[in-house]
């Protein structure tokens, strides 16, 4: 078994349109077969990090200006998305972007683009096994499916590409709590059964830390904290800022002052 | 007297009035003034009849191009029927001058108004259509108008064409290139100022908002259909006005020139000149008109010099080729057109010798 980490991001900076710097020296390591969760508030640079990995910065006029991204000990920063996806990195975009005018089944077939011409029937059955609700809707247009079905669809679509590294961008966005739970359970299952390495970007930190092995917290384009998922869950800062649990309910005002200071120290 | 204003380095506007002012500096104002004086006092007296004819055509074309730029460059509604609208204006002017025997100064603006109405009719599809579909609707408009101009013989005399009486303004008969020069360029200046000012009002801002994001514009409370229609009306008014001027200037008109090729030519003008720039429309009109004349001259020259004896080289293929190449090259290399080139040249002079 290969012991070097699957993905190593070393001090990367990302600049959009040559002027807007979004990432300022982000480093992270993803071990094989783990779920790594990337937390942080809006605009912290989580999505940009994912796009830097998957090569989707280019259409948005962004570029990795500094640092390296090593995938399987090959550098991949600023490569074309076609090449990166063929190496086995597949990103599931934020906000569920199905092909609205294709049926569910056709949507899934697009997932085979990286290995065009190879058989895919068995994989298809596997996807339906993971996401049973999709079977009933096989022939209907994706544009008319519900949010939960679509989220399953886009994850399933990505799985058909046989990814070594799956980048999930906010799979819980805008879904009902029960559906979120279901989706996270399936993500965990995929990780365990397929051995797929997953980077999970989430707002829903409580959920994410439950299934993740390791976590990073981002703020303003930097990584400000990292640790094992259970450690992060117990960390008072994370508890307060991301899990929304006050450490103690009684001394609120005093707490506020203190947490403000704590927050300042990070930045 | 207030202090003379020069160009600051950077945007230091403190009020909205400053932000939307036509002339940022007194220098610019003076330059335009001097330019106009030169234009009126010198140009008509030093140019020969042919050159003056070209200049006049540039003037008329510029008016129509400004109109198209209001619709396409500012409002974002791509129209392939502008050539036909110019034709409508020409015919409306001609019919008013002959059948209704209206005087010149009424016939030309009235032709503009008639064209504006026609333009609104073809703008109605914009109620339901967006983008590409609207473009195709205007293409249909082009063909239908062309058909009507040729086949409504009772009104337009079909392929025979119409001969106009000579124009007169304030009792003075306008004849010949030089007197037309003054009429055309006075009209052009008025129309340019009007366009520039429309763009500074709420109407202009609404147009730009619709261009940039029509759904957001609607969300902001801009009744987009009404404004789109208005843009069509204004744009066609300019086209009709220019058409009527052209009819008077050319004395006789026929349906031939107002075909799809002309519409494409107008679109090329605003692309080459610069979309969303009024000065750009004039640059573009100048560029295309001069290009046409140069090509005509070049083919004549090649034909007469005997260099290409035996080859059936005529005007059409060369014109098509160069014309297409100009469009393609501009789109690939300077999509913002001559207006942008002009801006770069100007600012490099302004910043010299300390650029950056």
């Amino acid at each position: 078994m290969n012991t070097i980490p699957l993905l190593q991001i070393n001090n990367i900076s990302v600049v959009y349109s040559d002027v807007i710097q979004v990432l300022k020296g982000v480093s992270l390591t993803v071990e094989r077969g783990t779920i790594v969760s990337l937390l942080g508030s809006n605009g912290a640079g989580k999505t940009t990090t994912l796009k830097a990995i998957s090569g989707l910065l280019k259409p948005e006029n962004g570029r990795v200006t500094d640092g390296t991204i090593m995938f399987d000990s090959k550098t991949v920063q600023n490569s074309a998305p076609e090449d990166i996806t063929r190496m086995g990195i597949i990103q599931v975009l934020e906000g569920r972007q199905p092909f609205k005018y294709l049926t569910i089944e056709e949507n899934l077939r697009v997932g085979t683009a990286t290995r065009w011409g190879k058989p895919y029937k068995r994989d298809m059955d596997m996807i339906y096994e993971y996401f049973p609700p999709l079977i009933k809707r096989r022939k209907s247009l994706a544009g008319y499916c519900s949010g939960g079905e679509l989220q399953m669809l886009v994850i399933g679509r990505a799985l058909l590409a046989h990814p070594k590294l799956l980048l999930l961008d906010e799979p819980s966005l805008g879904l009902a709590p029960l559906v979120v739970k279901e989706i996270f359970r399936i993500i965990r299952r995929i990780n365990e059964e397929q051995g797929t390495t997953i980077i999970l970007v989430e707002q829903n930190a409580a959920m994410a830390l439950q299934i993740a092995h390791y976590g990073y917290v981002m703020e303003n384009g930097k990584i400000v904290m990292e640790g094992k998922a259970e450690e992060l869950r117990e960390n008072p800062d994370v508890r307060e800022f991301y899990l929304g649990m006050a450490a103690s309910g009684t001394t609120k005002s005093y707490r506020n002052v203190k947490s403000y200071k704590r927050r300042k120290r990070w930045l | 007297m207030r202090k003379l204003q020069f160009h600051p380095c950077g945007n230091y506007s403190e009020t909205y009035e400053k932000e939307i002012t036509l002339f940022e500096t007194d220098f610019g104002r003076a330059a335009v003034l001097i330019g106009l004086i030169v234009l009126f006092a010198v140009v008509p007296f030093i140019t020969g009849p042919y050159a003056l004819y070209v200049v006049n055509i540039i003037g008329i074309t510029s008016i129509a191009a400004i109109g198209l730029n209001i619709l396409v460059g500012f409002t974002g509604q791509i129209s392939l029927g502008h050539g036909a609208f110019v034709g409508v204006g020409a015919y409306a002017g001609a019919i008013m001058a002959t059948t209704l025997s209206l005087p010149f100064w009424i016939a030309v603006p009235a032709a503009g108004l008639v064209t504006a109405l026609v333009g609104m009719v073809f703008g109605v599809p914009s109620l339901r259509l967006k983008g590409l579909y609207l473009t195709i609707a205007t293409l249909a408009g082009q063909f239908i108008i062309e058909y009507i101009l040729v086949h409504w013989e009772g009104l337009t005399r079909g392929t025979m064409g119409i001969v106009l009486p000579s124009a007169s303004l304030f009792g003075i008969v306008i004849e010949g290139d030089r007197s037309f020069f003054f009429v055309i360029f006075t009209a052009l200046i008025i129309m340019t100022l009007a366009a520039a000012n429309i763009m500074r009002t709420r109407y202009g801002r609404a147009f730009i908002a619709i261009r940039d994001n029509d759904r957001a514009a609607e969300g902001m409370g801009i009744p987009i259909f009404r404004y789109k229609l208005l843009a069509f009306a204004v744009s066609s008014f300019y086209a009709g006005f220019a058409g009527a001027l052209l009819a008077y200037y050319m004395i006789s008109i026929s349906t031939e020139p107002f075909n799809l090729g002309l519409s494409v030519e107008y679109l090329a003008m605003i692309i080459i000149g610069g979309m969303g720039s009024i000065a750009g429309s004039i640059f573009g009109a100048t560029f295309i008109t001069v290009l046409n004349e140069v090509l005509r001259w070049l083919t004549d020259f090649l034909m007469n010099s005997g260099m290409l004896e035996g080859m059936q080289l005529n005007m059409a293929p060369l014109r098509e080729l160069v014309f297409g190449a100009a469009i393609v090259l501009f789109i690939l290399f300077e999509p913002r057109g001559l207006a942008e080139v002009w801006r770069i040249v100007r600012s490099s002079f302004r910043l010299w010798p300390f650029s950056y």
Binding site: L102, W116 | Y133, I136, R319, G324, L332
Partner: protein
Amino acid sequence: MEFFVQLLVNGISIGFLYGLAAMGFVMIFKSSSVLNFAHGELLAAGAFIFLTLVTWAKIPVFVAFLVTLAGSFLLGFIVERLFLRPLIGEPLIYVIMLTVGLASIFKGLMLLVWGGNLYIYPDFLPSTISLQWGNINIPPVYVVAIIIGLFFLTLFGLFFKYSSQGIYMRSVADNQTASLSLGVNVRRVFALSWAIAALVAGMSGIVLGIINGINVHDLSSVGLKVFPVVILGGLDSIGGAILGGLIIGLLETFTGGYLSPSLRDVIPYIALVFILMVKPYGLFGLVEIERV
């Protein structure tokens, strides 16, 4: 009655050709949302390449046909590569105007090489494939037009519905970023759709050339007639393109036959405006699914 049936047959075969021409157009639109104003010129290019090969180079007809198709395919590929690829992501009007400019360039080039004259192909279709019912005669070229139309309609229908590459092409039309994220080679899809479109256009150019003779102006104006056809059928429906072509073809021949020949050329556009008012997305066009 005979006149009626004859018009019907003519209309259907012309309609199939319009449909074929429109099919290429729809293909480009489907994959890259580009309105191709140079489509008529691609058509004419096919017709002229074939003409040159058959009359000047004297290559056997069938070989010439295949070579023309290959040439058209290549032409479409090159056009996409050189002119459209740099414009990916630019506003619509630039892309539209670019195709307008390209149309102009092609037309100029073809006029330079072949001039504005009317050419005809040597007669090569065997008369045995003409059909005869009583007094109604269907000339061979119309039979060929119908056969080719049906064949390619089925071919492309199957291609887009079932083949992986076809589905990738549709996915790019649908959501470019998402297909990029899944590893669809978007640039190849664009190039392929232009190449296929040019191929189909070239083929309809040849058949139209057999029917009406070959003339730069006539053939390139067919490119504009594609617009009513695709609007009628819906800008993004291959089947709709064929049906739209049939309707426009019939409309034209019947207007020409019963009303007036001069109205013939403008009736498609009148129909176009009417359709746009009543059913903006055509008969088979996709209603935009907007989720805000």
